[in-house]
């Protein structure tokens, strides 16, 4: 009987949920927080976006993302060289923060999802499924690709008066990656992943 009950994580009020149709959302009757929102074909869709994300992530981190031309001098930056520049200026904490939120967290997200979703797709549970999915959820608020994208836009506008900006391959890959990773998160139904642990 306990399995059908769910406590709202906004106010702790217990609700009894039976099947919620796909596309609908169950809200808490007292505080209005979302109780549960089932997703259509969650594992397949999320896996598709994860695979696309893995390819885009590779391109975004290896190709130059912006070129900057002043006079006859051209400067090209990859993401890694930008972070390296901060390390050289003794901005260790900021450099680490950028490295963590823009490179490491999205990379770990993609790896966790691949590790979880590929076996689940074939109805198997990977080892340490609960631990890996917990890691994914803990890291979730720290992935800030979309904010980084807006940061690139703002700095491009700031620099456009100083010199010519040349958009690189990685910039387009980044733009696509932002949307693909959001789609990966949105299509994933966490409940389905937890349910598969019960199945064992």
């Amino acid at each position: 009987m306990v399995e059908h009950l769910i406590a709202c994580h906004g106010c702790d009020l217990v609700h009894a949920l039976s099947d919620i149709p796909i596309g609908k959302t169950a809200y808490c009757s007292r505080c209005g927080s979302i109780l549960y929102r089932p997703k259509r074909d969650s594992i397949n869709r999320s896996l598709a976006f994860t695979l696309a994300g893995a390819i885009l992530f590779f391109i975004a981190n290896t190709c130059p993302f912006l070129g900057f031309k002043i006079g006859s001098k051209i400067r090209e930056t990859t993401l890694a060289s930008g972070i390296h520049q901060l390390y050289q200026q003794d901005m260790f904490i900021i450099a680490s923060l950028v490295l963590f939120t823009v490179v490491l967290v999205p990379l770990l997200h993609i790896l966790c999802m691949l590790y979880i979703l590929i076996p689940l797709r074939f109805n198997r549970n990977p080892l340490y499924l609960a631990n890996v999915f917990r890691l994914y959820l803990v890291l979730k608020p720290w992935g800030m690709l979309e904010i980084f994208m807006l940061g690139i836009l703002v700095s491009a506008i700031k620099l456009v008066k100083m010199a010519t900006i040349i958009p690189g391959t990685a910039l387009y890959a980044f733009l696509a990656l932002v949307f693909v990773l959001s789609a990966m998160t949105v299509t994933l139904d966490g409940h389905v992943v937890w349910k598969s642990i019960d199945r064992q």
């Binding site: 306990v2 009950l5 769910i6 406590a7 994580h9 906004g10 106010c11 702790d12 009020l13 217990v14 609700h15 009894a16 949920l17 919620i20 149709p21 169950a26 808490c28 009757s29 007292r30 505080c31 209005g32 912006l66 900057f68 002043i70 006079g71 001098k73 400067r75 930056t77 060289s81 930008g82 972070i83 520049q85 901060l86 200026q89 901005m91 904490i93 900021i94 923060l97 950028v98 823009v102 609960a130 631990n131 917990r134 959820l137 608020p141 800030m144 904010i147 980084f148 807006l150 940061g151 690139i152 703002v154 700095s155 506008i157 700031k158 620099l159 100083m162 937890w194 642990i197 019960d198």
Partner: protein, 218 residues
């Protein structure tokens, strides 16, 4: 998005009143046998409410408020162009964009870097006071405010990324050079600390007061 009433029924009691604990990670309702039990499904340690929520959140909010001051006074970037060095704070960056007629960008930076961190601190202090002083009449609004802080807090990282890109790209020795200042470090700390503060606050405490007041009445 109204769903069929028959598929969702609200209980009159909270999980705690029923002697149950909702797992923070996977939301499984569990029976708490002793203080050290873990969720049988995902292994997260179980707490009915986040541990020391009010004290932890206060500590983080106070720390962030202190760091907010140097973050806004100290320069975030030093720009060298043709031998002259110009230092910029967050606010002077906003004013620069207003003067160069790109007010939408000025607005974006102002909102992300000055308004949102301040708003977040004010909201968290309001929520803490609401729990401690038992302001129960607006519980639903306070829950909404909490969801808002969770949602918008991360966007303050914008300025840190702008500085990163500027520092990485503009590096032409004496001709043009941008370096990051100490203000950027303090600002980054404000963003990170307020994110932890929002995470350590437990919105269920707002509603716990409501219940204990009912119990006193009847």
């Amino acid at each position: 998005m109204e769903i069929n009433r028959s598929s969702i029924t609200a209980n009159a009691a909270t999980a705690r009143e029923m002697g149950l604990v909702s797992c923070h990670r996977c939301h499984l309702l569990c029976k708490l046998y002793d203080q050290k039990s873990a969720c049988p499904r995902c292994g997260t340690s179980l707490h009915s409410r986040k541990k020391e929520s009010v004290a932890r959140t206060w500590a983080l909010v106070i720390a962030a408020s202190i760091f907010y001051i140097p973050a806004n006074i100290l320069p975030v970037t030093y720009t060298t162009s043709l031998g002259t060095v110009q230092s910029d704070t967050i606010m002077s960056g906003v004013i620069y964009f207003i003067h160069s007629d790109s007010w939408p960008i000025a607005l974006v930076i102002f909102v992300a870097s000055i308004f949102v961190p301040l708003l977040k601190l004010v909201i968290l202090i309001t929520l803490l006071l609401s729990v401690q002083l038992r302001w129960i009449s607006r519980a639903k609004d306070f829950t909404r405010l909490y969801r808002l802080t969770e949602l918008v807090g991360r966007w303050s990282m914008l300025d840190i990324y702008v500085i990163t890109v500027l520092v990485a790209l503009v590096h032409f020795d004496a001709l043009a050079d941008i370096e990051a200042g100490m203000g950027a470090l303090f600002f980054a700390m404000v963003v990170v600390i307020t994110m932890f503060a929002a995470e350590s606050f437990d919105p269920r405490l707002i509603w716990d007061n409501l219940q204990s007041t009912h119990e006193e009445k009847y």
